[in-house]
């Protein structure tokens, strides 16, 4: 090879290498930007990162993973037990089960919510997500990475919402109850209790209480129980009404049941319910007349 050719070869080689260096610098810059992007994303969303080497039982926890719980970065040993020991006692079993089931394929993914202890001893709700990214030849997981996001605020908002909903429901139920079992004092010693709607055992108890209080308050001798608004009378409801009538008697009041529709009359007999001891009258007006008669009151 002549000198000129060697020099040309060398120059070409230098160009190639310079090209490669430039390329690498570019790639390096791209990589640096990509890494920076991810770090910013994790930082701005307050996300902690974990990288679990399952085979060697070593875990990498990102700085944010630590600071999220009030600790200094890398303050605790980078092992599986660090995570386990920070879990809330009520959540430990559930969280460990989630990991195991994901590893054995019983779950398609790893998404769990649990509480972790902060340095000051408080509890934060954490949403953990993860994925197995490396398996060995027998398909056993050997590396898993994932994130931790603090969702305490959302959890508290959820709980608050549920609590509010419960309160609203309770208030509505109370209102409905108040509206549906009024006691109407008719005249001295006579009260009317119109029943409307369905009667379950809870309402039946409430009904009895309302009636007993009403009898005491108004010194009622006669109760006119109007069931025009009770659409369904089955053996259960008939039994509830029976008990109510017996209770009223123990407070010295006699009950007259009014407002039995033809459908209800049919049902009662068909079901074999025995109301032969209960005084029943067709409607409220007749009931009132019977009551007045009983009390010896005559209307002119």
């Amino acid at each position: 090879m002549s000198n000129d050719e060697s020099i040309k070869q060398l120059q070409q080689r230098i160009e190639q290498l310079e090209g490669k260096i430039a390329n690498q610098a570019e790639m390096h810059e791209e990589f640096r930007q990509s890494k920076r992007r991810m770090e910013l994303a994790l930082e701005s969303t307050n996300t902690g990162l974990w990288d679990w080497n399952i085979a060697e039982n070593k875990i990498y926890f990102s700085p944010r993973y630590y600071t999220m719980l009030g600790h200094e970065p890398y303050e605790m040993p980078a092992v599986f037990d660090t995570w386990k020991n920070l879990l809330h006692p009520d959540d430990v079993e559930m969280a460990l089960t989630a990991v195991t089931e994901y590893h054995t394929g019983q779950r398609p993914d790893y998404v769990v919510e649990f509480r972790m202890k902060t340095k000051s001893g408080a509890w934060r709700w954490i949403l953990a997500r993860g994925e197995i990214i490396e398996r060995d030849d027998e398909s056993n997981p050997i590396r898993m990475i994932g994130t931790h996001v603090d969702i305490t605020v959302q959890k508290q908002a959820e709980a608050e919402q549920v609590r509010l909903q419960q309160e609203v429901i309770k208030a509505q139920q109370h209102a409905i109850q108040e509206l549906s079992t009024p006691i109407i004092p008719m005249m001295d010693g006579i009260i009317v209790m119109p029943l409307i709607g369905s009667i379950d055992s809870l309402r039946a108890k409430d009904l009895m209480r309302t009636l007993l209080t009403g009898i005491s308050d108004h010194r009622a001798k006669i109760v006119i129980l109007d069931i025009t608004g009770v659409t369904i009378v089955d053996t259960g409801i008939a039994a509830h009404l029976d008990k109510t009538i017996q209770a009223a008697r123990l407070k010295g009041a006699r009950t007259i049941v009014t407002g039995i529709s033809d459908a209800v009359a049919e049902t009662i007999i068909d079901l074999g319910i025995d109301w032969s001891n209960i005084e029943t009258v067709r409607d409220l007006q007749t009931g009132l007349m019977v009551a007045l008669n009983r009390l010896g009151i005559k209307l002119r």
């Binding site: 209480r209 007993l212 209770a247 008697r249 123990l250 407070k251 010295g252």
Partner: protein
């Protein structure tokens, strides 16, 4: 137990049933009542439960036994003053106490006893006019109505 729990009022015996009676208290109370019926010839025993907050399992038995014993001595029981909570428990236990008249309070109990006496005394009076009182049974009847 205080002896003031049983008081006589005309031909009635007023019994203020105390809360938390032991088995012994129950026996003593019953005896007192029966004794006083015999002593005064009372026709009514008003059991007032205004002082009783809680109904226990002996409640029903106490009332029934009292009613039966008193009946054998020719008197009748009226119960009054049952509190709402006690009524609820009795109903839950299936103790509806039929055949025993129940009223709201002592006032009503007295009114009931007096009104019933008025009718029965009326009946007794007409019998007295139409009957010759010389058989032993007739003399017994005559004695009773004079009490």
């Amino acid at each position: 137990m205080e002896t003031t729990a049983v008081q006589k009022l005309e031909n009635l015996l007023l019994v203020s049933v105390p809360q938390d009676m032991t088995d012994e208290d129950v026996i003593l109370l019953r005896r007192q009542v029966l004794q006083k019926i015999r002593q005064h010839g009372s026709r009514w025993v008003l059991l007032d439960f205004a002082l009783v907050d809680i109904c226990d399992s002996f409640f029903g038995r106490f009332i029934y036994s009292m009613a039966e014993m008193v009946k054998l001595m020719g008197a009748k029981v009226i119960i009054s003053g049952l509190q709402d909570a006690v009524v609820e428990t009795l109903i839950d236990l299936g103790l509806t106490l039929p055949h025993i008249p129940a009223v709201l309070d002592l006032d009503d109990a007295l009114a009931l006893a007096r009104s019933t006496d008025a009718t029965s005394f009326g009946a007794m009076a007409s019998i007295r006019e139409n009957v010759v009182w010389d058989t032993p049974e007739a003399k017994l009847l005559a004695n009773r109505s004079e009490v």
